[in-house]
Point group: C2
Chain length 295, copies 2
């Protein structure tokens, strides 16, 4: 048995365009430019010697001959897709998968999600947290919000904001005024530092803070070190000591009413930036999401 088939890529382009009745939408679905689709369809038409679409400036329609071919093609593509489905997974254009840190997801993204779903009710957001850098060349993740130095101008990455670290301690139940506290009054407390998993970034530390503030007495304090913010938060909430927390966290619902700021400087941190996976850069919904993020 031998089949005689036109180029398969051209067939795929035709199928998408015929189904969506739009070159541009087909292009988006296949993650290429409309030009590419136009080319492929022209190639197919030339090869078959027939017109598949009627072009009328603004939109396209299938010709009679195109209509005759289309059903079998769609069915065939469905069958192929079905064969690979369980092995290869599905993609849903309405689902956006984002990779970021636990902290960004919990304290920045999460509180704003209500607004997002209000604006884009049909979208589904898939949040995937991990401290390490996730590979964006695969098809698993559409974009990542990463924390680190400001990227080069031409990287195409969108910078969201710069992080700052604020010295805080649990608000004393006794004196619940919203004032600040002097570090000198906290000699019974410990200084809580968190070690970061990513050793290439410099974590904020009380040592640095004392240096920058010009205050004395760093060495008189007891210390507490943690590997993760999870435990550090707990220690902070229990009133064990003072911590340098990112403004994002300090301002969050969970913490804003519980903490009181310690007098002295805030430490500058790195920036959050959005990195879009190459394969997802054409997805309209991904672009919308990035606009919303940075907007």
């Amino acid at each position: 048995m031998t089949r005689r088939l036109p180029p398969l890529n051209a067939i795929r382009a035709f199928e998408a365009a015929a189904r969506l009745l739009s070159i541009s939408n087909a292009a988006e679905e296949l993650s290429v430019t409309p030009t590419a689709i136009s080319h492929q369809i022209k190639q197919l038409e030339d090869l078959l010697g027939i017109k598949l679409f009627e072009r009328s400036g603004r939109n396209i329609t299938l010709t009679r001959q195109g209509e005759r071919i289309f059903p079998g093609v769609t069915q065939g593509m469905d069958s192929l897709a079905g064969a690979f489905e369980e092995t290869y997974g599905k993609v849903d254009l309405n689902t956006i998968t984002i990779s970021t840190t636990r902290e960004f997801a919990r304290y920045w993204l999460q509180p704003r999600l209500g607004d997002f779903y209000e604006q884009f009710p049909s979208l589904v957001l898939n949040v995937f947290t991990s401290e390490s850098c996730v590979d964006l060349s695969g098809r698993e993740v559409d974009l990542a919000v990463r924390y680190g130095p400001v990227p080069a101008e031409d990287s195409g990455d969108v910078v969201l904001f710069q992080e700052h670290y604020i010295p805080v301690i649990r608000k004393s139940p006794v004196d619940s005024k919203d004032k600040t506290v002097d570090i000198a009054d906290l000699e019974t407390k410990r200084l809580i530092d968190v070690r970061w998993e990513n050793a290439t970034l410099a974590a904020p530390s009380w040592k640095t803070w004392f240096e920058q503030s010009g205050k004395e007495g760093f060495h008189h304090f007891k210390r507490m070190n943690f590997d993760s913010y999870h435990l550090a938060f707990d220690a902070l909430k229990r009133g064990y000591g003072a911590a340098l927390l990112s403004q994002t966290i300090v301002n969050s619902d969970e913490f804003s009413s519980e903490l009181v700021r310690i007098e002295g400087p805030q430490l500058s941190g790195y920036s959050y930036r959005v990195v879009v996976a190459p394969a997802s850069q054409r997805k309209k919904n991904v672009r919308l999401f990035v606009d919303w993020l940075s907007g």
Copy 2:
């Protein structure tokens, strides 16, 4: 709706290899080298992260996972092929389509076809005659036997034999000995020349023959000119005159017993050569046929 599919060409390679359980046979079917198929399948395996075939040196078998994918893929390809079938035609590997001149087909090929079908009973030969050069870049014709100057060494064309033109006239019923005849005895006959459709080739002519033979009297003869051999043969058989016929025709069943040679030189003609269409060069049966032709 969006489908997530591996590269379609890789899918096609997989399908052919899985169906034929052979990389090389799949390669032949798709008109590429086994290397290409091997590449494509490897690409697919890497992408899916699973092994599709079990290799054991001499032959391949589907793995369990390959077996699960295969049916849907075959079905899908069938469906695609079906969609384009009526528009795009079918190819049968057992059918060889040859383009050549009417004369070659009738007087050289036809008498030998019995032998051919005896050797290759399963093949179907499609003979397509035309005096003009048929385009071999299309998929209509597998090979052409063409008449003309000897091709360049590196053209890849196979030369069958050189043609010669022999001066003949109808054997007289009266004197049926197999001797030759002197042109001087034929003053009552006419000289039959045929004009060729392809003006770029020099047709044999009585004028040339007289020049080469050194004989006198060319201008004393009456002449007959035809556009096609069909009419010239008729005139020859009716005994109207003498013609310069190719050895192929003179030796054919139809003519060998009816003609008698006229004394004098034979004229050198061009050569028959086999030109194989690029798309057909890998077809095993086409190669077999060419081997048989050049024999």
